[in-house]
């Protein structure tokens, strides 16, 4: 589907707090000391500013990810891989029943530009929404100095395998990534590699846990190895996933260390379906008909296996594929 180009409009600066207000299509975005207000033609949603910024920088970095990203139960995005829906109340029965839901489709590049513009203006120095809450300052209060440096990081994906010649490098002291405080009790050694001459780029291994333990971001997967369209992502998780992810395909979680508690909801209605506690070594599918949100009581390591086959989302949406991974005949 092609859509017209829409550019974010700067509506000017709040004279008291210093933050700019923006219009993007039918959506208006403004923030104050504590909250963000997203306004659309039929309503307004108020979101706590930390939650909003944590969600928005990740949505940018993930490239709008696979499927739906709910900033809260009302506002979010749906990725159509080229275009992106911004929605408000579309997946909330109460909003639909009241007739105040709203959805508008934009080019992905326009949404990215809009979100980056908002984040750049609204993120002050000393606050880093990609870090765990215990590791960063507060987003509250009036505008001070804009944070410099990249809004997003940690999204440099491996093309075959992290660390191979010409591919992305694992984190290290020299890349400015010390071992995180939460994993200071672990020891990280290197694999013993003996490659015959000429096979140095094929006989290869690296310490994956060391790479994860050095992450300075949370809920922010990095691609580490790819088998055809199967993508292995790893991430360090602490506190809460600041979005609710609605799946447009099946994905799989492998808990490497510690534990994460997942709330599971129906994808379309948001109705609670239950709760999953994953501990080290646990494996669990996230079916294509749910939303999920994770809570990690302490920093943990999570592996996610995604199927990046193009067009998969349409096959699930049409019902061509069942919304769960193991069909009945395989049990």
């Amino acid at each position: 589907m092609s859509v017209a180009t829409v550019k974010i409009q700067d509506l000017g600066k709040d004279p008291q707090l210093g933050y700019h207000k923006y219009q993007f299509g039918g959506f208006k975005f403004e923030r104050d000391m504590y909250f963000v207000r997203v306004t659309w033609p039929k309503g307004t949603q108020t979101i706590e500013v930390d939650r909003f910024l944590r969600a928005m920088v990740r949505d940018i970095g993930w490239g709008f990810f696979y499927g739906w990203i709910f900033f809260d139960d009302v506002f979010g995005t749906q990725n159509h891989y080229g275009t992106v829906d911004l929605f408000a109340g579309t997946y909330s029965k109460a909003h639909r029943d009241a007739g105040v839901d709203f959805l508008e489709t934009f080019n992905s590049a326009d949404v990215r530009e809009a979100f980056e513009t908002i984040c750049k203006n609204w993120i002050n120095e000393g606050y880093d929404p990609l870090r765990a809450p215990m590791e960063t300052g507060s987003p509250l209060g009036p505008k001070t100095k804009e944070a410099d440096g990249p809004l997003i990081r940690g999204f440099n994906p491996a093309r075959r395998m992290m660390g191979l010649p010409g591919d992305t490098a694992p984190r290290s002291d020299s890349s400015g990534h010390p071992i995180n405080r939460a994993f200071s009790d672990l020891t990280f050694d290197k694999p013993d590699i003996e490659a015959e001459p000429g096979f140095e780029d094929q006989v290869y291994a690296f310490n994956l846990y060391d790479h994860i333990a050095r992450s300075d971001v949370t809920w922010n997967p990095s691609f580490t190895s790819i088998t055809r369209a199967c993508i292995c992502c790893v991430t360090s998780e602490e506190h809460m996933l600041p979005v609710i992810h609605g799946n447009d395909r099946n994905e799989w979680f492998i808990q490497l260390t510690d534990e994460i508690h997942w709330n599971i909801q129906d994808k379309n209605t948001g109705s609670p379906r239950g709760r999953i506690v994953m501990k080290s070594g646990d494996v669990c599918a996230m079916p294509a008909d749910i939303r999920h949100q994770g809570f990690s009581p302490r920093r943990s390591m999570l592996m996610v296996l995604e199927n990046g086959t193009p067009g998969l989302q349409d096959r699930y949406a049409k019902g061509e594929l069942e919304p769960f991974p193991i069909t009945a005949s395989r049990w």
């Binding site: 009790d185 790819i226 199967c230 799989w252 260390t257 599918a285």
Partner: protein, 163 residues
């Protein structure tokens, strides 16, 4: 404050829980160490399945057969120490199957490529079209990112939480 990272192992793991108002089979909740504890050496038991792709749990103990796959695979050691030995395959040993690992017909007849000794947390490349063999002096565990293939074992009803 002292920190304590919890990492499961064959000898000690604490399985989580699943309580959902849904068919539990849709979530296929299992535990790598439990699967490995109940597997024969070098059974490649699927714990992840995503259309043609999968991840297999391998209990490494003693020496494995030789395997080859037509695409890259990746092994992550979850417990213990595993040695991976790599050879090129002869022209008559090149994989003819579409996906996943298959046993090599005999010993590899190509050049020796090298070996990797990997421990917990290490990820090892199992390069497309190369023969590889695993060996472990003590029971160890790896999970392999791959495609479903001739060596893949499915026993979901046995490994998954169903009530």
């Amino acid at each position: 404050m002292s920190v304590k990272t919890h990492v499961g192992s064959l000898a000690s793991y604490d399985k989580g829980s699943i309580k959902v108002n849904d068919d539990l089979r849709h979530y296929a909740f299992s535990n790598i160490f439990e699967v490995a504890n109940n597997s024969k050496p070098y059974e490649r038991v699927m714990v992840v399945s995503n259309l043609e792709y999968c991840a297999e749990v391998v209990r490494a103990e003693g020496t494995s057969p030789w395997y080859v796959a037509p695409h890259d695979e990746f092994a992550i050691v979850m417990d213990g120490e595993i040695e991976f030995t790599f050879y090129q395959v002869g022209d008559d040993q090149k994989p003819t199957h579409k996906a996943g690992a298959a046993r090599l017909n005999g010993e590899p007849t190509g050049k020796r490529m090298g070996r990797v000794r990997a421990r917990r947390g290490h990820e090892v490349l199992l390069p497309a079209g190369s023969a590889y063999q695993l060996s472990a002096a003590k029971p160890s565990v790896a999970i392999i990112q791959t495609s479903a293939g001739p060596e893949s074992v499915e026993r979901w009803s046995e490994i998954c939480v169903l009530k």
